[in-house]
Symmetry: D3
Subunit: 159 residues, 6 copies
């Protein structure tokens, strides 16, 4: 679906996204190392994520991944599909509801569905809104999110 | 404002947050190393962030930090204030609008204002909604966000 | 060229590669942070990479990236094209000649050409040999390499 | 105890520390990932830390964390209490005795007691010497250390 | 064998290597954290390395380390012996055959044998070709490789 | 000076260290990436290290490396000389005085002098106390430290 051109990979232009279209990413296992790296890099040392002893008496019972880790990895996995390669102009909006935690060893996959399109010719393209679902290895939706991306329009000389 | 007890630091309970209250974090400089680490860890290798040559001809003119880096660092900086230490039960909701990019070398500070409180006794506390503003070294608001946290209620024997 | 299926991205099967076919990757800027991370992770603290003072009197005059960094990033960039997604069975052979160094700030792109194919039905597919060229922002070939991958055969029920 | 001002968090001034005062940090679990990251970053690949096979026949029987990891994390945890925020001028002296090792999975907490204060008006404040104890999840003191920090004096117009 | 001089460690000059000479490195345990760090840094998110669920149904049955991780760590371990310290001029050629995978928790040691020497006076020294074997904790050779290094000649005033 | 045996590198035994003996390490350039990685990994986000704007008005005028980074890198560089390989039993004591800061781009070298030896036959060897000096590229001593290591005795069958 994405093109591999002589100038490198090329994602989809604004005009090439269709409402209802669904994209499914690769899976990625969230390891203890991921939580340590994400927590330290961002400075979020919340004991829910970094202190195994504290977690023994917490509601969850064990360490969980940062909510921001889940969403950030989801965007990364989506990017890796190649559909945004060189055609995304800007990341505009994000909203997310965290319902089920990601535990160490869980594997997440993302389902992204094109929810809405809105022309923004003045900005060189249009807004594409995706519904994202982060799904774990048991098929459970752990986070529902929406992102709005400004995608470039197809160059007219290629139309 | 946060307490340093014999059992470690203790953040604020649901009852101790006041609508209108504002929290200001430390500043953090977003370096080239931060962008490399965030991009590789999350898998978001978008050339906007990782390819300096590509960026020369882009709208921005140079590499920018990931939107998710900005928000993730903001949550980390907020956590480091100590007000959530041991009293946060869960991160429930997030919404963000990205307006101005973070360039390499920019320093970000976060202003978090308590916007709304909502009892959730059944869950052991209540929801606290914060308005977040990520502000750069020129005082410009680069991202507006809202987060909703489930904060624990003050134990009755301490009341 | 790669398919985005309901079960995630799907690369090319052995039968779908053609001798002569060329793949071009995204560019990636090799920063000082990359050299520090690669050198420390692998334990190669050679002063050519890690000691700016030493390099002032060296033949190169300044720090250079590890040869292994170049090849490892090249394989990563190739993987990100999606053509190997779920269809690569094993990485079998590698050969490389390093001619021009990568300096801090250089941006590398990889051109991979299918050089040779060889059936290996007993192993479930066949060997695909690629010629790789790592090219810098000036268009100079800095490393020539060859890799041999065992790619899966197309499932017969899909043929 | 630490103040959250309109200009960000504010630690304690030299005058606000009292001999005998004790600070207790959060806990942090030292994972295998922490040892790999610390060992590679600092270049200390001692097989005690990095070679599980070697350790099977060693006195300890398994990999242990670097002594410097313990002390460095302790300083980090102490910093995160907020008491040094914007009021520390310099880190002057350190001494440490390592008695019990940190194993993978151990959780460390730091108890810091103000041991001594010494005016250093010429330097803009005074020296505060802390006794540090790094304590594991079993309550065992694994490292005793002392650090001397130059803390700023309270601005006179605030006195 | 390597010298520790007043100006730092000093490796072997071209003239000091003998065909047939064997060097054995330290062992290094390849942890889950290593695979996460290597895969993210290089951008090789192949599910063979990063998706534990996918691997359950793969030929290997579980996640394996990247081939490039094995070779890169081998070069790092070889460097740490000190024999190349300040005497290596350039890394010229590499070839490798990957036969047995490295699983999480395996410990690798490298045996490097001087295979061939070739004068290159014009370049200030000569080529030294090493045969490398990466060996796991069971004594199995998992990768055979060859590297060609340009080593400096002994300064005549020291001869 | 260190031996490269058939079983890997072998450092010096307790009996092989001489009072007065001096060891000089390789140099290592401390980059902005090092400070980001050390600060985030250890959790020490002190604005002296992480906030370039704050530093503009500080005594130093710019960001400085963590004192613990300097000492931790020094131990790593010392380890890489090979003299401790397989012969160090434990790291016992550390003391350090920080006088001059390490700025981004500085290159540090370590001079370690054997100061004192003390038999500890009951522990299988003896204590070796080293004086360490961390020296920058201008030859200035930036940190003076002392470390006490428990080194193994030479096996009697080798004596």
């Amino acid at each position: 679906m994405t093109a591999l051109t002589e100038n490198g990979p090329l994602g989809l232009y604004y005009e090439e996204f269709d409402v209802g279209q669904m994209l499914v990413t690769r899976g990625r296992t969230v390891t203890e190392a991921d939580i340590v790296q994400f927590g330290t890099l961002t400075g979020d040392f919340n004991p829910m994520h970094m202190d195994a002893e504290y977690c023994k008496t917490s509601f969850m019972g064990k360490r969980v991944a940062h909510g921001m880790l889940g969403i950030s990895y989801a965007i990364g996995q989506l990017y890796q599909l190649g559909v945004l390669d060189g055609t995304i102009l800007a990341f505009r909006e994000l909203e997310a509801k965290f319902s089920v935690p990601i535990f160490i060893g869980d594997t997440i996959t993302i389902k992204a569905t094109v929810k809405e399109k809105k022309d923004a010719a003045r900005l060189g393209g249009g807004m594409v809104k995706f519904d994202l679902r982060i799904i774990n290895q048991e098929g459970k939706t752990i986070t529902k999110a929406g992102i709005t991306l400004l995608m470039a329009s197809k160059p007219t000389d290629e139309a």
